[in-house]
Amino acid sequence: MILDYGAGNLRSVIRAVERVGAKPEVASVAAAMDDADVVILPGVGAAADTMRNLRERGLVEPIREYIDADRPFLGVCMGLQALMTVSEEGGEHPCLDVLKGRVVRLPEGRKIPHMGWNRVRQHRLSPLFECIPDEAHFYFVHSYYCDMANPEEVVASTEYGTDVTAVVERGRLAATQFHPEKSGAYGLRIYRNFLLEHCANGTG
């Protein structure tokens, strides 16, 4: 199930999930999460807007409870940053606090936004990387990144003036800073791997 809270990349995420053979349900109400095999949280844009949209739809507590129960969850781009404790984007914005740490501005000295295909280094084995070689490229677009309080939750990172969190995993929670739905075949494989791992028949 894909959460619709007005995120700009919703359609791309739906299409990517369909392309790997799943039939996603799209819903904007918390109740729909009860029966979901998996929940995907898309997202682009600003942290403040994202949190406001999630709050207005009454999704904040349900998402926390869902993840606390260690049910399968995938966050994408802003859908990763929204899981953090607080974001410094455009002020100081409390986020879902599911993952401990701050969302901070990328260091000066490089072009911002960090836009384009960057090499992703895998720090440890994960079912998410099945059939994806280490150091494959994925498409990033962001100006802030996740400074994780628990570095062991970072399973892959990329380099852009600093070590940038690229993939986070904790139990059945996974999230990516890059856009798998815009990262070609390997990006689609991320969705495929996530669904294969968590859905009985791999079709979501």
Binding site: H137, K182, G184, R192
Partner: protein, 261 residues
């Protein structure tokens, strides 16, 4: 390392690719969606569609193209041409475009940049700048497809569009466009050095060396090309291999969609 991007651009008129494209393997070489799909499979990093249809009153053809592209292409793509309001931008983004590009409309009403950036985020607002280096050495912004001089300095305008929220600049040189004789390096470098957002060099690509020069000397973050790919004489991965051999970080893996399932 962040790679440099190669972006293929299609001029589209009433839903058909113009500037003669000759690909024997395509059933319909005039269909932008078929071409986009082919380029994606051949390793292009990003795509741009410029709608050059004279009248923009009815956008259903473009919307249909954007929707079909989003169904089949899983790399980022930008749509532009005649977008004049945040409503126009929203229509393209909601139909599946990742970014929109504005040119003349931004010069005529610069607030359009800020409105788009505020509503949709800077990351999807690409401001296209057409510029010409005049005989006196000044770099002037042109609008209306490069036909109308504005008296605005290109570097100054580039700084302003970034201040207003542009996330990326697509810079076309009117001097070099269409000649396949190399990008305008001084212009590209002047603009790229002046702004903190990525700059796409456009106009003049004829071979891989031109792209290497635009990146190493012009300091472009991405290079845009149309004709050199459309005729199949420069396979995308060949160009990328040459650029990589020149020391430029490129996305070389070339996974086929069928292989990952």
């Amino acid at each position: 390392m962040l790679t440099k991007r190669i972006i293929a651009c299609f001029d589209v008129d009433q839903g058909r690719v113009v500037k003669g494209v000759s690909f024997v393997e395509l059933r319909d070489a005039g269909d932008p969606v078929e071409l986009a799909t082919l380029y994606d499979h051949e390793g292009i990093d990003e795509l741009v569609f410029l709608d050059i249809t004279a009248s923009h009153e009815d956008r259903s053809t473009v919307v249909d193209m954007v929707r079909r592209t989003a169904d089949r292409v899983f790399i980022p793509f930008t749509v532009g041409g005649g977008l004049r309001s945040d409503g126009d931008m929203m229509l393209m983004l909601e139909s599946g475009a990742d970014k929109i590009t504005i040119n003349t409309a931004a010069v005529e009403r610069p607030e359009l940049i800020s409105e788009g950036a505020y509503r949709f985020g800077s990351q999807c607002i690409v401001v296209a700048i057409d510029a010409r280096t005049e005989p006196d050495g000044s770099m002037q912004v042109y609008t209306h497809g490069g036909r109308r001089p504005t008296g605005i300095d290109a570097v100054k305008w580039a700084r302003e569009v970034v201040e207003r929220g542009a996330g990326e600049i697509m810079l076309t040189s009117m001097n070099t466009d269409g000649h396949q004789d190399g990008y305008d390096i001084p212009l590209t470098r002047a603009v790229s050095d002046a702004v903190g957002v990525p700059v796409i060099a456009s106009g003049g690509a004829g071979n891989a060396q031109h792209m290497i020069d635009a990146i190493t000397e012009g300091r472009a973050d991405a290079v845009l090309a149309a004709s050199i790919f459309h005729f199949g004489t420069h396979p995308i991965m060949d160009v990328k291999r040459q650029m990589q051999a020149a020391g430029i970080a490129m996305r070389m893996e070339h996974a086929d969609y069928d292989d990952v399932f």
